[in-house]
Symmetry: C2
Subunit: 134 residues, 2 copies
């Protein structure tokens, strides 16, 4: 299972999208998520580096860096999730065994398609679609 970082990041981005007027602080965001501001800020840094939000010292989050219709969940996922592969594959297998020698290659090929399909699905969902649901 992937961590909740994608979920929390989407939460943050939705809040930003719904408050285009004034800046919102990490403290206020943390209040909606029910966590603490430092955790929010760590995610904010990654979202900012990925070009998804704008922040300013002394102000907070000053808005999305691009329209909600142009932000896909794949971009958010790539921005915040450290390990992006779907399934872990055991390495250091016994190369003297036919299975041990090829299992990594076989599984990589098998999983790659699923990984790619998942990414396509993430890419098909945009922040704008989610924002309308609140």
């Amino acid at each position: 299972m992937y961590s909740s970082k994608l979920s929390v990041s989407i939460h943050i981005l939705c809040l930003a999208a719904l408050h285009p007027d004034g800046p919102i602080t990490s403290d206020w965001i943390a209040g909606s998520i029910h966590t603490n501001p430092a955790l929010v800020r760590r995610l904010l840094v990654k979202l900012k580096r990925a070009g998804l939000i704008k922040t300013q010292t002394g102000m907070g989050v000053t808005g999305l860096a691009k329209p909600a219709g142009k932000i896909s969940l794949l971009e958010v996922f790539r921005a915040v999730e450290s390990e992006q592969r779907l399934f872990d594959i055991h390495t250091d297998t016994n190369l003297n065994c036919p299975v041990g020698a090829k299992i990594e290659q076989v599984l990589t090929a098998t999983y790659d398609k699923m990984q790619t399909n998942l990414e396509h699905e993430l890419d098909a969902v945009h922040l704008s679609q989610l924002v309308t649901l609140f």
Copy 2:
């Protein structure tokens, strides 16, 4: 990222499929995976409970419990992976905030489709397809 349990289990099942004649021991399997027998046996227990392999005390793995063409990766995944959801969702959000109040529901709906699609893909791959690759 899901753990390597699915990968290791597939490794085990392929070995079993390729040795229909005699029984193979967890010790021998561990030699191919390059891990230790106890870890293999822990997976074997789950695979046996799921009706995928046959084991016997004093002998080892005596074969697949059904034809390789009838064993899908979804069955293996369900048998061995403890946490099957794709993305974790943060709970205990602030219900006084519109986003906090609905985020869990919105994300669940969004992720559910991806989860289902992934499971369909896992279900479409059968052990027999992989066995031919070694």
